[in-house]
Symmetry: C2
Subunit: 143 residues, 2 copies
DNA sequence: CGCGCCAACCGGCGTTATGCCGGTGTTTTT
DNA sequence: AAAAACACCGGCATAACGCCGGTTGGCGCG
């Protein structure tokens, strides 16, 4: 499903997703056409989902925070629609431990953050929310 | 520092970071050269940090986990080099609350996860670590 | 063993995109 | 008001791309 060459191509794209097929071909020691075809296949098969631009800290205006959420719903899935509906929710993971959901939010202001928190609190299935506002951003690799 | 056109260019790149300058130019109604120059400026000024490939869930083999870390170091920065040295560490945020650092890790195996945890435990400045293994991935917007 | 089949790779060709540069219009400075 | 600074445009030479025919190397089957 993905041999050594595909891995090399992906690794090259992880270094810089905006580089020419020719440049990648040179790195992995294949012809440009071979890399081109492999790329197309990787994209169509869904192994490669897309390409993202990584922004500098300047563009990161606003506030980020973690919510750890505990809920009493039988299935986690009950509260997911609520979270999906909030555009500021960047990531949501079901996790082990006392907490059930770890949610990462990026909002424009602290006010908006509170608003979101209250919206979540209103949901009957949600028992407890802890907010951890992000003070510093040390490491941030995409994906 | 970044006018309406820059925003449009960035938005276009967020849709697909691997598209030609010409294609972007067409979307934002500028000449290719103008977009090209703006892009170079955005990259050099650090507003654009780089470009990443987004992989499908198939390639997401392995285990993900959150570490919440409490440390006694005067400055957070003391433990950051240790984290930066570990390639599996995807994100690290300094946060408010009882916890000091929220670290997101993506490793190949649970064994490797434990290995990383022990490595962190060995650091004198780190007081306490809680591990939350990710069971489900509900929402995951890049950046 | 040899034959044919299939998948992957290569390289050339025409088209498209890129980088560079001079020219132009607009705003800011002196 | 002239000059300088800035951003944009468009043309040209070069590089990259997509496409296609030809070649290679493995693999099964008679």
């Amino acid at each position: 499903m993905s041999d050594k060459f595909d891995q090399l191509i992906i690794k090259a794209l992880q270094e810089d997703a905006r580089q020419s097929v020719s440049a990648i071909a040179e790195q992995v020691h294949l012809s440009r056409s071979a890399v081109s075809e492999r790329l197309k296949r990787l994209e169509q098969s869904g192994e490669i989902r897309g390409y993202q631009v990584l922004l500098g800290h300047k563009s990161m205006s606003g506030v980020a925070a973690y919510f750890d959420i505990q809920h009493n719903s039988a299935r986690c899935a009950d509260v997911i629609p609520l979270l999906t509906a909030i555009p500021e929710v960047r990531r949501c993971h079901g996790i082990s431990g006392e907490i059930d959901l770890m949610v990462f939010v990026q909002a424009d202001s602290v006010t908006r953050l509170h608003q979101i928190r209250e919206e979540l609190d209103a949901h009957p299935a949600i028992v407890r929310i802890k907010t951890h506002i992000v003070l510093s951003d040390w490491i941030n690799k995409a994906d």
